[in-house]
């Protein structure tokens, strides 16, 4: 596959995943802010901005952190490069560039998403909740079209790489922020909502309930989201996908990325929560994010900018 095409596909799916993750965070922050038992509404609303490292940039534009301002900034602001609008714009542009390598059904799904987004943007914006649901739905649809119609060749592999690298990064960041916040908390009821919000944002509430039978606390959540391989957005399952995808790509390239990913996966496979706690969960997460970043640059240097 052409290196340029691989790069377009990789970033296309990263941006789509980012749009979906932003919608998930926005949705949950919004419902948490309405919760009487929680912390202040403003603290809850700040969470997605802290996860994406954009709190400062937001403050420069908006005097107050309100639901409306947050919604505008994360969903519609075309000057904010990580807004859902901007992510979908880049994704669609990349898809346009590689439309010869994705299936007609994938292209039409994404193009229809883009056209609908612009229709919504030029009229009255939909309410926050239905909009977030719509973004998630379109993302599911795209994934369905991809899994259901695209040949299992390099195009598929580079799309998967983008998705899981972005997802691993996002899950780790969310966990990092929630860990920090949890340290300040005390009440069990608050704890419950705090952690279930995170699980909800990661679409993992049901699988958590199945695994831990109603008990929710810092330990169960951390174990589920870091170490369990049966939860689609856990760090371990993202790493498993990255590893198998890297080994499926044709050719001898990518030794560095493969090596780093393999080491990280081994750590997750054989690690325990107790060990992670001993070394410090915040430290682990920071290292994890650094490693993900190095896998990303390995992929870039060895595949996307090669020859």
């Amino acid at each position: 596959m052409l290196s340029r095409t691989a790069a377009d596909l990789f970033w296309l799916s990263r941006y789509l995943e980012r749009a979906e993750n932003t919608a998930r965070m926005l949705d949950v922050a919004h419902s948490m802010a309405m919760m009487p038992a929680g912390r202040s509404a403003e603290q809850e609303l700040a969470a997605p901005l802290r996860v994406t490292g954009t709190l400062g940039a937001f403050r420069e534009q908006h005097a107050r952190l309100t639901v409306a301002a947050l919604y505008q900034y994360l969903a519609w602001d075309s000057t904010h490069p990580a807004s859902i609008y901007s992510c979908l714009r880049v994704a669609r542009e990349n898809a346009h560039a590689v439309r010869g390598r994705i299936t007609t059904e994938m292209w039409e799904t994404l193009n229809a998403t883009w056209l609908e987004l612009n229709r919504m943007r030029s009229g009255r914006h939909p309410a926050l909740k239905p909009f977030c649901d719509w973004v998630k739905e379109r993302s599911h649809l795209w994934r369905g079209a991809t899994v259901g119609t695209l040949a299992r060749g390099d195009a598929f592999h580079f799309l998967r790489l983008g998705t899981f690298l972005e997802r691993a990064d996002n899950s780790a960041r969310m966990l990092e922020v929630k860990q920090l916040d949890a340290a300040e908390e005390g009440s069990t009821l608050r704890d419950y909502y705090h952690w279930s919000a995170l699980l909800q944002a990661l679409g993992a509430l049901e699988s958590h309930q199945d695994a831990y039978l109603g008990r929710i606390d810092a330990d169960t959540v951390a174990e589920l989201l870091i170490l369990r391989s049966d939860t689609p957005r856990s760090l371990r399952s993202c790493l498993e996908e990255i590893n198998s995808t890297l080994s499926n790509i044709e050719g001898p390239q990518g030794r560095r990325a493969k090596g780093i990913a393999r080491t990280l996966l081994t750590q997750l496979e054989f690690g325990s929560l107790a060990e992670l706690r001993t070394a410090g969960l915040d430290r682990f997460l920071a290292d994890f994010l650094g490693t993900i970043d190095r896998i990303g640059s390995g992929i870039r240097e060895e595949y996307l900018e090669s020859a």
Binding site: G100, G251, A307
Partner: protein, 484 residues
Amino acid sequence: MSNVQPPQPGIPDEMLVDADTPRPAYRSYHAWLSRVAEQELRAKRSEAELLFQRVGITFALNGEDDGAERLIPFDFVPRIIPAGEWETLERGLRQRVAALNAFLGDIYGEQRILQAGLVPADLVLRNAQYQVAMHGLALPRSIYAHIAGIDLVRHSDGNYYVLEDNLRVPSGVSYMLENRRMMMRLFPELFAEHRVAPVEHYPNLLLRTLREASAVDDPNVVVLTPGRFNSAYFEHAFLARQMGVTLVEGQDLFVRGGFVHMRTTSGPRRVDVIYRRIDDAFLDPLAFRADSMLGVPGLLSVYRAGNVVLANAIGTGVADDKSMYPYVPEMVRFYLGEEPILRNVPTWCLRRPEDLAYVEEHLGELVVKEVHGAGGYGMLVGPAASGEEIAEFRGRIRRDPHNYIAQPTLSLSTCPTLVEEGIAPRHIDLRPFVLSGSTTRIVPGGLTRVALKRGSLVVNSSQGGGTKDTWVLAEDPRTEDGTC
């Protein structure tokens, strides 16, 4: 009760002989059209627009940097060509393209036609499109224009005329294919009633033609596009996808060790055939325009060594130049020893003083075109022009007569088309696509373009033209050459 407006007096209409009488090929379609309410047709058209938008069959206009994407208006009243008529056209197309390819091989080789004095040597050798680099090069199968688009119009005398030959990078074939797909989706009942010859196998024929262009066993074929901001990008991506080959940009290719390679995720891979949708001047910054960011440095040297095939070849533009057009019938006679089947429009070459004098006197009746112009730019349509425009053009042709030709204003035939005021006659032309490989391959029909403004003769999409599906009726069941 017919809801189709009657044809204009003196202008042949493809569907109607007069207000109530359809031509034989249109009988069944006309009956259907008369049964359907206009409202329903408009609803179908909105549906079509939505679908096209969704599929993203859009083009960008030259000179519009805002990235605005437009749809080429699609009209669902098909242009129908009877089988017998098409048969003649097809024979004529094969003949004409064979002669043009022979001409290109000749002028870059022995130059027999110049020695015979049938075509003025300076017209060829001093032509800006004549590429000295091509001189003495032996091309596989001696094919220069692997893909040709020949523009035809029907005149009021009922005959088809060739308006121009397109031998560089003719475009529009994706619209031919998408229009058919759309028609079958919107009006399946019509295809049950009519035996319409299929066109869907065009990409397959194109791939075969491109593979045959190379002497390599299992050649690696790519489509070279200027990129996603090019107005025809949709078509480039579409064809690459349909053929299952890689769509590349100049930056994806490089020359090493006498071959062209593409940069892939598993290292360099050799490229054998480049279906290039980039003009000659941009192909190789080392050989042509140094400022080209679209091409591949060193490509020409690989090409000259015979290690890569370009389709079309470099330097084909000299044969589709408007100054060369008047000589095509002579080429048919000279190279093939046959009488031309397709008619040429009588043409005045303003480089000849007597022609210039005549044209100056009759500017108000003639169409004057720039020799190198394309896309409907830089032309004067006499009968439609104001006195001021005519005066301005007179100055232009006096200053540079070599740069212009003139032709009588043809009364292009019309075809009923859904517009504001109902289903009214609009002028159309036809661009069939001719593929030259081990054999000549043509899918029945081509792209029909329609001028949507009343009375307008300019069908180019850049000037607000639209397109129609083109049906060649298969009257007698027979097997086609080149079915897949």
